[in-house]
Amino acid sequence: MSQSKTPFDVGLLRADFPILDREIGTAKLIYLDSAATAQKPTVVIEAMNDFYRLSNANIHRGVHTLAEEATAMYEKGREQVANFINAASAREVIFTRNTTESINLVAHTWARANLNAGDVILLTEMEHHSNLVPWQILAAERGVRLEFVPVTEDYLFDMDAYGELLKLEPKLVAFTQMSNVLGTITPAKEIIKLAHDAGAIALVDAAQSVPHLPVDVQALDADFLAFSAHKMLGPSGIGALYGKMDLLKAMPPFLGGGDMIKTVHLRSFVANQVPYKFEAGTPAIAEAIGFGAAAEYLQNIGMNALMAHEHELTKYALERLEEIPSIKVFGPSAENKGGVASFTMEGIHPHDIAQILDGEGIAVRAGHHCAQPLHEKIGIPATTRASFYLYNTKEEIDALVAGIYKVKEIFG
């Protein structure tokens, strides 16, 4: 991971995000919903605009100038993304629509080629639905067995239970590197090492980690790692699946159609090389360019500096929120937690909290955040979630706290 080139200055960084000047009614926007999707800096917006203004063409086949430019820009996006996660080769990065599609791709290709009835897939209790439902579908279809590493009372990945569950000799361990509800950061490197020792392949749901932590796929020794551009300052509509080259080469293709083939006959085809074998049809070209620009922007800021800023914010937010009577914040203490604070208030529904905060210009999320089983485990139907990113400030957290006091006042 590259070191930051200039000191981290949130005031200067905020100027890169035009939407932060917006007002909601008469209040200034306070955006605390980056775990759902992040705001976009001008460099990302402009990279995509420039593509459409100056270079738009379809990729890979044309010989005309625009087609060549477009192809080069698309592939540069792949290189920037690969570089950001330190993949050994850009060809190990497959463009998908989002994290969800990346995980489904593995479920459809690698898993269908390698798993049979009775094989065990190990997940955790804190997975997002996108790292749960694809495996449930596979379980129903193939008779594979799903087992779950519990969350401890301190909201951490239960290492002891994991050790026990590995005795079931799972074929796949698929887990989140950072929970989008609890903020729990899991010890991914250790989890993967133990999975490998037990003969399993490891898939990391990195939707929340890649945007917020330095992630190095080679240091982690991850087999598959899935993430979305839109949560890391890039556009929606594009995500990535990192996979180790030997695994990708051995996998059957995903969707069939143009671009994923080398040759096609009436009754047969030969698949293209990796990664094109997994990218059927015209991809999200402008989005790939925006994705690359976002990765480079983050890399220039430096993920260590960004993480330190978010850690400060998280610590401060937990302190301030826990001061408020009748609030309960769910998740581990700040050392093991990313920039997420999910909470409940006695007698007041998360929807009402989010609505009243919106009246103050504060954007937070209410609901089960696509992690219903986790909410069942902690025994609540829904939470209100404030989440932080590089552009958030302590003043915004103060405004959140003031907003929460207003909620209490309205509900008396």
Binding site: I348, H351, D352, Q355, I356, G367, P381, A382, F411, G412
Partner: protein
Amino acid sequence: MDDLYREVIIERYKSPYYRGHLDPHDIFFEDDNPVCGDHIEITLRVDEAGIVTDAAFDGHGCSISQASADLLIESIHGKSLEEVKALNKEDVIELLGFDLGPVRLKCALLSLKVLKAGAYGLSVDEVSDDLVE
């Protein structure tokens, strides 16, 4: 926003008049709002002429969903099942006394959906938003 949290909503949310579960009952139905996990169940007693003689709701959710359920249940006492089937989203907006944005309207309409599904005798998979459009 202030409109949304008028006194009637907060009051009905905190101390609803018609929260409960009638036993015995003639009609029972329950459903969830998958987006926010709100849950509503209704129980009705209906006489031979098809008139609702008693009604109650139970469940959990935001102030809008629970307060509108309470107001709705209040409004159907003495109505015929045919009249209940004819209710739609405008009636709920009228009961609340103000319009809601599209997201919160879903919260307000959950109880109507449950009520109408019960009145029609539908199964859970037959319930859709079309019921309240």
